[in-house]
């Protein structure tokens, strides 16, 4: 099947500042994607452009093969749940669900109300009187019950407690299993969702710095620990993404699949080897930028 979303050299500038810089990627149908990156990296701006809520300065967006702008056929297949969603002042939880029902062709009303109970949301409560966590839960209910072929969650679990987060993952997996669709989970809290993701896109300072299969990234990097001279010798020809010192010891994180040779060489030098989690890898990759900037300042 062809790509459901194609983004070509997407750019958004505000005056002199570039929020999104030449981002290109494509999404395949029926996968769960992670759009990861620090706060302010440009994730939300990208999602707004994908859904034609914001206009690109340059570049192209194709959803289901077409430009989504004012395109009813395409827009009706997209559900974008955003963290900062505004609701009409007088709206209650039930009003949000009933309004949403009018816009998503696959909307499942019974499922929506069942989810409302699962998340213990009071249907008659005014949206303005909901806590941060409850607001997030309303978004989750709409996103799941919409069953839109492209469902996008932007920071879906802000303020949610551990039980509700776990409930979200369970419901997402179950419903995705029964009604496969493309899901984008955008977040800066990577550890929480990382194991739900099939593929990750990492955005840093408006640029796409990683676009890979999640499982391929797990174990992609490794850390060596030992005396600093030995660590230096070992890492001489390698791509180091993080280095730290502790007394006479150094640790360095290296990108690349750990080969048998790597292992033997490290063992010969008396270095200890440790694997790096997906979350840790992304933190290292995106923190590098921050440190460089700090030096410039």
């Amino acid at each position: 099947m062809s790509n459901i979303l194609e983004v070509q050299r997407l750019t958004k500038s505000y005056g002199g500042a570039t929020a999104v810089n030449e981002v290109s990627f494509a999404l395949e149908p029926e996968k769960i994607y992670g759009l990861l990156g620090r706060n302010g990296a440009g994730k939300t701006t990208i999602m707004h452009m994908i859904t034609a809520q914001l206009f690109p300065t340059r570049g192209e967006v194709k959803v289901f093969g077409e430009n989504p702008y004012e395109n009813e056929r395409i827009l009706s297949r997209i559900c974008f749940i955003k963290e900062s969603q505004k609701y009409p002042d007088t709206y209650r939880v039930v009003d949000v669900l009933e309004a949403a029902a009018a816009f998503y062709p696959n909307w499942d009303r019974d499922y929506a109300y069942a989810l409302l109970e699962d998340f213990r949301l009071p249907p008659k409560r005014n949206m303005k009187k909901l806590s941060r966590g409850m607001l997030s839960a309303v978004g989750i209910v709409v996103g799941l019950a919409s069953r839109a072929p492209l469902t996008i969650f932007d920071e879906p679990y802000l303020g949610l407690d551990a039980v509700s987060r776990s409930l979200f993952y369970d419901r997402l997996i179950e419903d995705y299993g029964e009604h496969p669709r493309t899901v984008i989970l955008s977040t800066h809290l990577i550890d929480e969702v990382s194991q739900l993701l099939e593929h990750v896109l990492v955005i840093d300072e408006g640029k796409l710095i990683m676009n890979e299969d999640a499982d391929a990234l797990r174990g992609r990097a490794f850390t060596v620990v030992g005396t600093s001279s030995k660590v230096d010798a070992y890492t001489a020809e390698k791509e180091v993404i993080n280095r730290s010192m502790f007394g006479g010891l150094a640790s360095a994180t290296i990108v690349g699949d750990m080969t048998v040779n790597d292992k033997k060489q490290a063992e010969a030098l008396g270095l200890e080897l440790a694997t790096v989690s997906l979350q840790q890898l992304i933190v290292y990759l995106t923190r590098g930028n921050l440190e460089r900037k700090a030096v410039e300042v």
Partner: protein, 124 residues
């Protein structure tokens, strides 16, 4: 959740290992049905496609097999096959590294086998 997934190794491999463990330890009998990808995914809170990838890895190895329209089952002889594979891994993972460490500490081969016998007794 009974098990925690390690985020630093490919999850589909971990899923395959968990199923192997279940077969070896008799929780999954030969010719019995393996949980569906959704059941596995919900249990571990992982992506269903990843769960499916773990299962198909074992299908490729002949440990599991597909019954069209019904599901995935444990093959006859799977347990023996896995035991052999695991014994090989055991040697690589534990015995070789144990001997390396023993050499570092100046423990002779004779002394080492003495220690193994002692350890086995304590377990009884």
């Amino acid at each position: 959740m009974g098990f925690i997934i390690d985020d630093s190794r490919p999850i589909f491999m971990q899923i395959a290992e968990r199923i192997e463990d279940d077969v070896i330890e008799g929780r999954l009998l030969e010719e019995s049905q393996v949980p569906s990808k959704i059941q596995i995914a919900t249990f571990y809170q992982i992506n269903p496609a990843t769960a499916a990838k773990g299962v198909s890895l074992l299908v490729d190895q002949g440990i599991l097999y597909k019954k069209r329209g019904i599901g995935i089952f444990v093959a006859t002889g799977a347990r023996t096959l896995l035991m052999e594979k695991r014994r090989e891994q055991f040697f690589e993972q534990y015995v070789v590294s144990m001997i390396q460490e023993a050499e570092k500490l100046g423990i002779t081969a004779e002394h080492l086998s003495e220690m193994i016998k002692r350890g086995a007794k304590r377990d009884e």
